[in-house]
């Protein structure tokens, strides 16, 4: 058990291509941190640097109070789970899990005790004698996790462990991983490109893009208070709507959309947005904050008309797609409403939950 510190860490490849551009991150003991971002954002490189599988070009990585920059992976006391499981094909499940312990000269009894314990946690006791090729994808993933658990390391590292599984199994294994972490409470760094995985698993989510950290925070905070346009668009599914707009002040501060519609800004936010009067901004509004109108509207909800393009009933909600001056918008409405394409629908935008992004900086103001 240990905390992990990443301090001004840089990874540069030949030709001066920087995959990671000086990131700082403090991971507390027993914390579950998820690095998330699109492919090529540097998240996997960062994980491999923590593991020691990738050299650190600049900065320092600390694990449990020691700088580990020059420590080989085997001496860092970490365990890693790979996307393709990386089980040793010629060894039984038991031997796969015992390999790391054997190399560390544990006694036979201790090895057996630990493997049995891990197998119990992961519910794979009946598979111990099998070879990896006789296992299903989900079972292989469990064995890979078992191999990590038996070592009882300071840190668990997961490199997209669920990406090879089918959708249903992925959801199931996601829960398993969370459960295992709640049981063993080992500090965990988990890399994924799937923001849903990030949101559901993490104590804190680290959103990365182009080799830098865009934002770090608990899932709810990232969802409700994204710091940048990138985070706002990356976290949440379906994604946040972005509409080009302008802040105008003709009888009350308002967001004026490209089609001329004016959406009044709530009074408590006026001070914050007043400096941006006349500037080009982007209005960010999540689909769930753009819904059908109610008889009794809450304060700061403004109405707008939409010409429905596509309707997607999902069961517990219905998504309505339309355009505002060529920009696609998605609204989430009551599934009981009967909505047809080409009809005009009156929608209510909850301005309490809107975001204004300064186009010049990409930052949420």
């Amino acid at each position: 058990m240990a905390q992990v510190s990443i301090r001004k860490v840089v990874k540069a490849y030949e030709g001066n291509v920087q995959a990671v551009k000086g990131i700082d991150l403090e991971i507390a003991d027993e914390e579950f941190v998820v690095l998330v971002g699109p492919s090529g954002c540097g998240k996997s490189t960062t994980l491999r640097m923590i593991a020691g599988l990738e050299e650190i070009t600049g900065g320092e990585i600390w694990i449990g109070g020691d700088v580990v920059n020059d420590v080989p992976p085997r001496d860092r006391d970490i365990a890693m789970v790979f996307q393709n499981y990386a089980l040793y094909p010629h060894m039984s499940v038991f031997d796969n899990m015992a390999f790391g312990l054997k190399l560390r000269k544990f006694s036979k009894e201790e090895i057996k005790k630990r493997v049995d314990e891990a197998a119990r946690i992961l519910d794979i006791q009946m598979l111990l004698e099998r070879k990896p090729k006789a296992l299903s994808g989900g079972q292989r993933q469990r064995v890979a996790m078992g191999r990590a658990i038996v070592r009882n390391p300071k840190v668990f590292l997961f490199d997209e462990p669920l990406s090879n599984l089918d959708a249903k199994l992925r959801v199931q294994m996601r829960t398993e991983i969370k459960k295992v972490h709640q049981t063993v409470r080992t500090t965990t760094v988990y890399v994924t490109h799937d923001q849903v995985e990030a949101m559901t698993l993490a104590d804190r989510v680290v959103v990365m893009n182009h080799g830098v950290i865009e934002q770090v925070g608990p899932p709810q905070e990232l969802y409700h208070n994204p710091a940048t346009r990138f985070v706002a668009g990356f976290i949440g599914s379906p994604a946040m709507n972005f509409l080009s707009a302008q802040i105008t002040d003709n009888g009350g501060l308002a967001v004026e959309l490209a089609d001329g519609a004016k959406l009044a800004i709530p009074p408590q936010r006026r001070d914050r947005y007043a400096p941006y009067k006349g500037k080009k901004v982007t209005l960010g509004l999540r689909p769930e904050h753009l819904t059908e109108t109610q008889d009794q509207e809450k304060p700061n909800v403004v109405q707008m008309d939409a010409l429905v393009d596509v309707v997607e009933p999902m069961g517990m909600e219905t998504m309505v797609h339309f355009f505002v001056r060529g920009e696609p918008v998605c609204a989430r409405v009551d599934p009981n409403l009967v909505i047809k394409p080409e009809q005009t629908l009156r929608l209510a935008a909850d301005m309490n939950n809107m975001h204004i992004i300064d186009d010049a900086t990409g930052k949420v103001v």
């Binding site: 593991a51 020691g52 599988l53 080989p72 992976p73 085997r74 970490i78 365990a79 890693m80 790979f82 996307q83 393709n84 499981y85 990386a86 089980l87 040793y88 094909p89 010629h90 390999f99 790391g100 190399l103 560390r104 990896p132 090729k133 292989r140 191999r147 070592r151």
Partner: protein
């Protein structure tokens, strides 16, 4: 419908007839050699090459093994057989193991100048070796091991390495690098990963490589003639001596028996390990 199947059947028969004829045609020399080796000398003298032996005898085989003259000595090929064994076994083991180690290092570890090394190896695999024989002779005589078993083994290992390295590198590229990474995190270093992960996964390839090397080295004539020295001449060189040493009558039955004796070990190797050969060549390393 019936006409079509009939036609197909005639086609089949024609095909097999052609194949059988071709097979027979190409095996004539071998059949002649085998039949001659079982003839007594009297029958050989008749020059009835295509006749089967009227009186089967293994005497020529015995003579070839025990008492045929090669140059000035008359002790048959059995000494040379053991010479060949002493040369082949260490050469094969060393070249296969070092080749697989090279292949592992080149495919799973970052080696400085790996690309240049690979290029050099590929070139090395195709260099006509007559070109480097003279420098090699000079080098070995300077070092002082020229004409010894160690010398001939070193030559075979050197010339085997480029192909062995390429073979193993291409095989190991198919083993996911994550396996090596997982083993590194598990606590294994370069050698332990090689011993506990890589070697157990390459059993088929090791067998294939060993077959290739055994056949190649056993059949070698030139290096054995030049580097092995008089006391360690391999079977191929002695066979040549035996066939060219004539005192009066040319004993074709002994020569053919000697040739078959020399060819037998690689042949037997193929018979007993052929299935690994096929498996090794087609196996797709590791899946999932």
């Amino acid at each position: 419908m019936a006409a079509a199947t009939n036609q197909a059947r005639i086609g089949r028969i024609g095909l097999y007839a052609f194949l059988v004829t071709t097979c027979l045609f190409f095996s004539i020399p071998l059949l002649v050699v085998i039949s001659t080796s079982f003839k007594p000398l009297s029958e050989v003298r008749d020059f009835s090459v295509f006749q089967l032996p009227a009186q089967m005898t293994a005497a020529a085989w015995g003579k070839a093994w025990q008492s045929a003259c090669t140059g000035t000595e008359c002790a048959g090929l059995h000494i040379a057989f053991w010479n060949s064994v002493r040369i082949v076994i260490p050469s094969v083991i060393i070249s296969v193991l070092v080749g697989s180690l090279n292949g592992y290092a080149l495919s799973h570890w970052r080696v400085r100048g790996a690309d240049t090394l690979m290029l050099a190896l590929i070139l090395g695999a195709f260099i006509p070796y007559q070109v480097i024989i003279f420098p090699l002779v000079k080098i070995f005589s300077t070092v002082g091991i020229f004409g010894s078993v160690a010398c001939i083994i070193a030559v075979h290992v050197l010339f085997g390495l480029p192909v062995m390295t390429l073979l193993f590198r291409n095989f190991y590229v198919g083993i996911p690098n994550e396996l090596v990474k997982a083993a590194r995190v598990d606590g294994a270093g370069f050698w332990r990963i090689f011993l506990f992960i890589i070697l157990p996964l390459s059993v088929n390839m090791l067998i294939v490589a060993a077959i290739l090397q055994t056949t190649g080295i056993w059949n070698d004539y030139l290096f054995g003639l030049i580097f092995a020295g008089h006391n360690n001449t391999p079977m191929t060189v002695e066979l040549m001596e035996l066939a060219t040493t004539s005192t009066g009558v040319v004993e074709y039955n002994v020569s053919t028996a000697a040739a078959l004796l020399t060819a037998l070990p690689p042949l037997l190797l193929y018979f007993f390990s052929g299935r690994y050969f096929v498996r090794g060549i087609t196996a797709g390393a590791v899946k999932g």
